[in-house]
């Protein structure tokens, strides 16, 4: 069992002062093997905080990030899965799943983690799975109204990934889970 945290669009301190306390108490160091951060942290303090949660931290650049050296996109393998990371402001129309599917095909990955819309999404299409962990702080978005703070934890086990989404709704943390299976071919999932 490999735990991968997908998190992003915190927009600290431009749009939010801090992570919700309930999230902070859940995210403890040493439990998560990898972190995929979609971007828009925006400051070094947040980077350091994420780094403290897990040494294997991957970040892609959001348009408000203080550090402009983060890559536009990133790919990596975890277990049997190929994952890709991209903030998403580069893909027009924003949040359009077909356009994001194109990026997925281009990067040749099973799971694409992307952000920018501040809205949680877990979408399966022909080429694989698109996951948007939303905004971990519930930051203001021009695209989404009434943003609830959310993040995603993926449990990768063999050819199966269980996606847990944690959402803070009216002060309570609600959890939901979705199962995805990859077919055992050498090519991307169908």
């Amino acid at each position: 069992m490999v735990l991968v945290l997908a998190i992003g669009d915190l927009h600290i301190p431009h749009r939010a002062p801090d992570l919700p306390a309930k999230f902070k108490s859940m995210l403890v160091p040493g439990k998560i093997q990898h972190i995929l951060c979609t971007g828009n942290l925006c400051i070094k303090e947040v980077h350091d905080y994420l780094k403290s949660l897990s040494p294997d931290l991957h970040i892609t650049r959001g348009e408000y990030d203080e550090d402009v050296r983060y890559p536009e996109n990133k790919t990596l393998s975890i277990g049997q899965f190929k994952l890709g990371l991209c903030h998403g402001h580069q893909i027009v129309p924003w949040g359009d799943l077909d356009s994001l599917a194109m990026l997925q095909r281009q990067l040749d990955i099973d799971i694409l983690v992307t952000g920018h819309t501040h809205q949680f999404k877990a979408y399966k299409h022909e080429g694989g799975v698109i996951i948007n962990p939303g905004s971990a702080t519930g930051a203001y978005s021009s695209i989404t109204y009434d943003v609830n703070p959310s993040f995603v934890l993926m449990d990768i086990d063999g050819l199966r990934v269980v996606v847990y989404v944690y959402e803070l709704i009216d002060g309570e943390v609600k959890v939901d889970k979705i199962d995805f299976k990859k077919t055992a071919t050498t090519q991307s999932a169908h």
């Binding site: 927009h11 600290i12 301190p13 431009h14 749009r15 939010a16 002062p17 801090d18 306390a21 400051i43 070094k44 303090e45 348009e63 408000y64 402001h89 580069q90 027009v92 129309p93 924003w94 359009d96 077909d98 356009s99 599917a101 194109m102 095909r105 281009q106 040749d108 022909e126 080429g127 930051a139 203001y140 021009s142 695209i143 109204y145 090519q187 991307s188 169908h190």
Partner: protein, 820 residues
């Protein structure tokens, strides 16, 4: 006069030799039951101990020799007592000797019980001892037995003993003697409920005895100060310090007497003790004893005798460190107050606060040379006290702060780091107590104290305040409070004086400003009018921050304002009859001016992003001209200020992405803006970037919503243009590098064609797609070096097409003509 180092070692060695020599003969005499000789040799031996040549410590070493006490294990009790008594003619401290005396006491008790000798006779007998010191020790020991036997009232024996001890006026010997007396008498006092309780009023005798012993001991102790030459003053003080607990023990005994209740303490004990403390006029004694009184007697007594106790302070020697003692007192009372709710009314009843406050005032006034840190420390203790005992009395809290301000005013800004540390402690205390900055904001003297801090510490305090707000997630909800808060933290908000140091650490500065940014999110009110006032107040302050600070403080304010706009959006229309200023239009005006300030930094990229955010918000409010204006500003920035090619790529995609979502524009405005967007896309520096931006523009002409624009032709125009650019890129690569160019661009464009094909753009036909597929295949085959990622991309695209074909239904039909 006390010797030093080497000499002492020599004397010690000589002393030990002398003892061993005489001890040998004494033993021999004892073995042959020759009491007279034994005594003679013992006296000789022990006269080594009469030496004044050794310091207390070395003397102790001499006596430590265990076998000396073995010598005292002779059969004859009297011999034993003689030997031991000879010990005490020296200057030394040895509790073990007192233990030996206890053994002797036991022996005496056995003998008198057995009837060998009566107690009274024994009492008489020991008074014949030649040397006064041993005589008195023996007397006390027998006295103990006497009291225990109850053949005489305890009070009489004790009175006798305490007065007899006057015979020893040598300070150290006297102290030890009386200390011994104190020790043996403490369980034999005629206290209430004790077995030695006599007739009525014996408690007063017990008290009298202890106080007398205490008084005499203190006199002896103080006398030590004046013995010897002035150059050895420090050494004497050190030695006195070592002996202080001997004196203090008496106070301890007093506190343990059952019969000493509050009244007696108030009427008799405290006044008498204080009298001695004040009259002795000795700095060391006064400091120690005041401290002792406070430690030893119960806090409720202190509360009830506060006036008397505090009244003694001004009468003490000016060099006494009163503030430490006062602080101790206040700390104890604070803890007492915290111990239970029931004691609090007592504090009010005795007016503890005003008494303490006055006392402190008097002390500070009297001690003109007291350094500032001393005064502040006192106020910190008083404040801690006040917060524990009278937390609801903000006027008291403010009073303490006010006294501080008074002390600080008229001086230059503080530079003493200890003093500033204390002031930070002073200011942090109310924050921690109330967990609410709003309460602290109500204290008029709070900002005045802050004004007296130097810039560095002022900022430190400001950060402490912000951290307190963040920690407690306090929400500051009115413009007035925001105003007061920003005044408090003004050191962070702007350069307070012209001579602001440029040496400030960049990291620290960033942290500071980021905390101000976070703070802005804590300022909120659900009422739009009030919220707008808050926004304007914040704006007023941060605008003075200068180019260094604006990039940090403007974004959070902008988003705060955008949230308000959205909130107003939700509310429907106009409230009839009311004059509202909180309208989206008004807010957009403020936003415009605020973002404009970023140009002075200059931060064009950030400003561009914020303008686009505002444009989207204006779109959602149906304010076409406002949205257009924001787009204009964004484009101007793009044209004039964004020079970096990488930054341009991001910026143009942000413009395209935002524009794509706009539905408020009429045809003309829309055309102007899309034309500009596509134009700039084609002018990016690198061909691949151009290509991608141009095909992104295709989405400007197709919005997949009910009333969305669906201009198939212009979509196709964009895609074709993208293809041309891709071709050009190919050719350029051939010419300049001899290799093939970015084939991947074609595959990307193909995917875009598929997108619009699926959406039903009539201009995108299956034959167009087929042509493009063939083109790519050709390109990839003629390609010398293959790009694996391009291959994979093409493969997955073809897989997708296959998947769609196999879907069946409408989609399957659509895709059917395409052959792969």
């Amino acid at each position: 006069m006390l010797p030093h180092g080497d000499d002492e070692e020599k004397w010690l060695a000589e002393g030990i030799a002398g003892i061993q020599h005489n001890a040998f003969y004494m033993h021999r005499a004892l073995d042959s039951n020759d009491l007279k000789d034994a005594l003679r040799y013992s006296v000789q031996m022990l006269s080594e101990l009469r030496t004044s040549l050794l310091s207390p410590h070395k003397y102790y070493e001499l006596c430590e020799l265990g076998y000396l006490f073995d010598l005292a294990c002779s059969e004859c009790c009297l011999c034993r007592s003689w030997i031991l008594m000879c010990f005490f003619s020296g200057d030394w401290e040895d509790m073990r000797a007192f233990d030996e005396l206890r053994k002797m006491e036991m022996f005496f008790r056995e003998e008198t019980a057995r009837g060998t000798i009566s107690v009274i006779e024994l009492y008489e007998l020991v008074q014949h001892a030649g040397n006064i010191l041993p005589r008195l020790y023996l007397l006390c020991t027998v006295g103990s037995v006497y009291i225990k036997s109850k053949e005489a009232p305890a009070k009489d024996v004790l009175k006798d003993l305490v007065e007899m001890c006057r015979g020893i006026q040598h300070p150290v010997r006297g102290l030890f003697l009386r200390s011994y007396l104190c020790q043996i008498s403490r369980d034999k006092l005629p206290d209430i409920g004790s077995e030695y309780e006599g007739d009525a009023d014996t408690v007063s005798h017990a008290i009298e005895f202890v106080i007398q012993n205490f008084t005499e001991m203190n006199k002896l102790w103080v006398r030590m100060q004046h013995q010897g030459p002035t150059r050895e003053k420090d050494k004497r003080e050190k030695e006195r310090s070592q002996l202080r607990d001997l004196v203090g023990k008496n106070l301890h005994v007093l506190s343990q007497i059952e019969g000493v209740d509050l009244d007696i303490y108030k009427e008799t004990v405290l006044p008498r003790v204080l009298e001695q403390v004040v009259n002795c006029k000795d700095e060391l004694a006064q400091h120690y004893l005041m401290d002792c009184i406070i430690q030893v007697f119960p806090d409720e007594y202190h509360l009830q005798t506060l006036e008397t106790l505090l009244g003694a302070f001004p009468q003490l020697q000016p060099t006494v460190d009163i503030k430490t003692v006062l602080s101790q007192l206040m700390d104890r009372l604070s803890i007492y107050a915290a111990s239970s709710i029931e004691v609090l009314p007592e504090f009010l009843q005795v007016e503890a606060f005003s008494k303490l406050s006055n006392a402190i005032g008097k002390v500070i006034e009297a001690q003109v040379d007291m350094p500032v840190v001393g005064a502040i420390t006192l106020y910190v203790s008083l404040l801690t006290f006040t917060l524990r005992v009278h937390p609801d009395r903000l006027d008291y809290v403010d009073q303490v702060l006010g006294a501080c301000v008074k002390k600080l005013s008229g001086r230059a800004k503080l530079e003493d780091s200890r003093a500033t540390k204390q002031i930070v402690a002073l200011l942090s205390a109310p924050l921690e107590k109330y967990n609410d900055i709003v309460t602290a904001l109500k204290l008029p003297n709070y900002p005045r104290v802050m004004d007296h801090l130097d810039n560095g510490t002022n900022k430190v305090m400001a950060v402490v305040i912000i951290q307190s707000i963040m920690k407690n997630t306090t929400c500051i909800s009115t413009a007035d409070k925001v105003e007061a808060l920003f005044e408090l933290i003004k050191g962070l908000i702007r350069d307070v004086d012209e001579t602001q140091d440029d040496e400030i650490d960049e990291e620290d500065f960033k942290e500071e400003q980021n905390s101000v940014a976070r703070l802005i999110h804590m300022l909120h009110n659900d009422d739009p009018e009030e919220m707008l006032k808050i926004i304007c107040t914040v704006r007023k302050h941060i605008i003075l921050g200068g180019p260094k600070r604006l990039p940090f403080t403007v974004p959070p304010l902008v988003f705060s304002a955008l949230k308000l706009v959205r909130h107003l959006q939700g509310q429907d229309g106009d409230v009839i009859g009311e004059e509202i200023s909180a309208t989206p239009k008004k807010i957009f005006q403020i936003l415009h001016q605020t973002i404009e300030a970023l140009l002075s930094v200059p931060s064009p990229e950030l400003a561009l992003r914020l303008y686009l955010q505002c444009a989207e918000a204006a779109n959602d409010c149906d304010l076409e001209p406002v949205a257009y204006e924001f787009f204009t500003q964004a484009f101007i920035l793009y044209e004039e200020e964004v020079a970096d090619s990488k930054a341009q790529v991001t910026a143009i995609h942000l413009i395209i992405g935002t524009l794509q979502r706009m539905n408020v524009f009429g045809v003309e405005n829309r055309d102007t803006l899309t034309h500009k967007a596509t134009g700039y896309s084609a002018k990016l520096l690198k061909k691949p970037d151009q290509c991608r931006a141009v095909y992104a523009c295709s989405h400007l002409f197709w919005v997949d919503e009910q009333d969305g624009i669906k201009d198939g032709e212009r979509v196709l125009l964009c895609l074709k243009r993208a293809l041309r650019i891709a071709n050009a890129a190919q050719q350029m690569a051939n010419v300049t590098r001899g290799s093939s160019g970015p084939v991947v661009l074609f595959i990307e464009i193909l995917n875009k064609y598929l997108y619009f094909f699926e959406k039903g753009n009539p201009q995108v036909t299956s034959s167009v797609l087929q042509g493009l597929i063939e083109l790519i295949k050709t390109e990839m085959q003629t390609d010398g070096s293959s790009d694996p990622s391009a291959d994979a991309f093409f493969a997955s695209t073809l897989r997708y097409i296959q998947f769609q074909k196999q879907k069946g239904g409408a989609m399957g039909e659509k895709y059917d003509p395409i052959k792969i």
